[in-house]
Amino acid sequence: MDMLISIFSVALFASTIRAATPLILAALGGIFSERSGVVNIALEGIMLIGAFFAMLISYLGREAGLPPLASALAGAVGAMVFGFLISMIHAVVSIRYRADQVVSGVAINILALGLTGFLLQQIFNTSGNSPSVPNLPAAPIPGLASIPVLGPIFFNQPPIVYIGLIAVPVAAFVLFRTPLGLRIRAVGEHPKAADTVGINVFRLRYLGVALSGVLAGLGGAYLSLGQLNIFTEGMTNGRGYIALAAVIFGKWSPWGALGACLLFGLADAVQISLQNAGVNIPSDFLLMLPYVLTLVALTGFIGRSNPPAASGVPYEK
């Protein structure tokens, strides 16, 4: 019992939020992309690119004499820019050239692995870890951070965590309460119908993929600059796929994905604190949980999860 109390502490929930943040950002990106009709298993690669360029730009900022915080912020912005750029390859290949979107996503993931390894070797002459760079420290929100329990969990975190949490209601509002969101969903459900009423299917799909690039890129930046202060080769380590699982488990809705990401984040945090506490429970089964739950959700025995109708289908005028 004492052990349980020591594990389910404020620190555990704070670390749940931190573990969930990159997943939330990438999952929101995935939702925009898939809702517009483009399957996005490239999230993993986009996050990796984001993580790398966040580190690189923060490094270059420091070399250029910028203060640490400015370097790190520039890194986060750079991650979004490069996330956007890499996602555009996916967009052009799968929207303009109507390639199989899964194939293109696989290629993006391999490309990201190759490109980041290539640049790491070329720029820093190392494989494995980058040098340490200025990162984004926790930025407690004055007043709110001193609220007991809630303060340390929600209001004493690195800035990207706040962005991730705010992005959820914003994304939900845009998708379900604005004409733009209605159009994005329309081209993902029935592009032909949307086209007939004058909606530009291609433009909206590019937008959906671009948002996934920006958001997943920022999620990647959180890995290298929020959780750590270095880039490690292949550091996303399947988080892009967990985000994809969260999209499905959350039924392609931002709030649903938030719930899934928090659950997956909790599993991660419990696993880490169990290990730290030296408890001898095989952590592999906790790590397996997100994937098992998603599989169960997909089989429809517990509330069926259905993708947007035209997701994965290239549109031809």
Binding site: I41, Y97, L111, G114, F118, Q121, D284, Y291, L298, T299
Partner: protein, 379 residues
């Protein structure tokens, strides 16, 4: 026209009717490979290195001596099998992203049998290979079952099954199957000699597994084109509803396709363990199942093509280290080239447009040169 001339033209025509479709089939993958190597050369130029030197170092790294040839072929073996796995599923219009998980589960199963079920030599090896094939097949077949009975998209289910496999194996290798030793290394014990594949090209580590892989390619070719099973699987892939209307059970065939696909990947894993590593080490994730997607695409989902494509990608990865050591070009360049090959094969319009683009550029250059000449003439 003399008789001899006439006969040569007909012979020529006859040859062309056979060769032309093959050339046409080869155009896309060959074009994709050429374009990707050119794009890779641009990357190499950008970092101030010589692409020709780099590519020569790559080829030498892969084929420079008997040892490296053997290693390249050893690398080809799992790629043939996982490539066949992805290709076979593609024939039923199923995208098996889970070849990696099926491969790893097969590897674990074969290792388990190789360690724990002592049997006479030969039979033991067969049992280990069979165990890998069956477990890999079940892992893939489960995704097929979910697709057939619950409509779960195989891309998502196989991605999930990949991770479930990885964590399950991690548990087994650090727990129940962990070798009892003073060193406390997270790995299994060694596969018994009775369950090890023969080395066929010392000093390289090439095992007889390559022969099994080639036999499997032949078998899958036969299965696809000469049997009812293959016919039905292809029919379901070409047109689900037409196949159903013709009395073919599409759901059963999708399950079967994933079962066979997983079995091939699992056999690949079994061969790696009984022929190369002999024990399962924690964290073993070679990524063959992902390269397999490129192999299947470049190979046109046809067994002979898959074998050639597997050799190509094995050459790239085997030569990469040589390229880094000799020419100073990061070995990850090879991954970039691999990704580009996939893009180009997936978007054939780019490859088809390339010769036109080149011709246009040449014409434009010629026109510009002519224009310059004329200007020179008037001045």
């Amino acid at each position: 026209m003399t008789a001899s001339q006439e006969s040569t033209t007909t012979v020529k025509q006859r040859i062309m009717t056979v060769v032309a479709p093959i050339l046409q089939q080869l155009f896309l993958p060959a074009g994709a490979i050429v374009l990707s190597l050119l794009a890779g050369a641009v990357f190499i130029l950008l970092i101030g290195k010589n692409p020709v030197t780099a590519y020569i170092a790559l080829v030498q790294g892969a084929f420079g001596n008997l040892f490296s040839i053997g290693e390249t072929l050893e690398n080809t073996t799992p790629l043939i099998l996982t490539g066949l796995a992805v290709a076979f599923a593609f024939r039923a219009k199923l995208f098996n992203i889970g070849a990696e998980g099926q491969f790893l589960m097969g590897a674990l199963a074969a290792t388990w049998v190789g360690i724990n079920l002592p049997m006479p030599a030969g039979i033991h090896l067969l049992a280990a290979l069979l165990a890998g094939t069956i477990v890999g097949g079940l892992w893939g077949g489960f995704a097929g079952l979910l697709k057939a009975t619950r409509g779960v998209h195989e891309v998502i289910s196989t991605i999930m099954l990949n991770f479930i496999a990885i964590f399950f194996i991690s548990y087994m290798v650090t727990g129940p199957m962990k070798e009892v030793s003073a060193l406390d290394i997270p790995q299994t014990a060694r596969v018994l000699p009775t369950a090890q594949l023969m080395k066929i090209m010392p000093p390289s580590r090439l095992s007889a597994g390559i022969i099994i892989a080639l036999l499997a390619a032949g078998f899958i070719w036969w299965l696809l084109w000469k049997t009812t099973i293959g016919y039905e699987v292809r029919a379901v892939g070409l047109n689900f509803f037409a196949a159903e209307y013709a009395g073919i059970r599409p759901n059963y065939n999708m399950f079967l396709a994933m079962l066979i696909s997983g079995g091939l990947a699992g056999l690949g894993g079994a061969i790696i363990m009984t022929g190369l590593f002999y024990r399962y080490q924690h964290g073993f994730e070679p990524g063959y199942g992902f390269t397999a997607i490129a192999v299947a695409l470049v190979g046109g989902n046809n067994p002979p093509g898959v074998v050639l494509a597997a050799l190509l990608f094995a050459t790239l990865s085997q030569g990469a280290l040589g390229m880094q050591n000799v020419a100073g070009v990061p070995q990850d360049t090879v991954l970039i080239i691999q990704a580009l090959v996939i893009f180009f094969v997936a978007a054939p319009q780019i490859v088809r447009a390339a010769p036109d683009w080149w011709a246009k550029r040449k014409a434009a250059a010629a026109a510009a040169a002519e224009g310059a000449q004329m200007e020179g003439g008037t001045a």
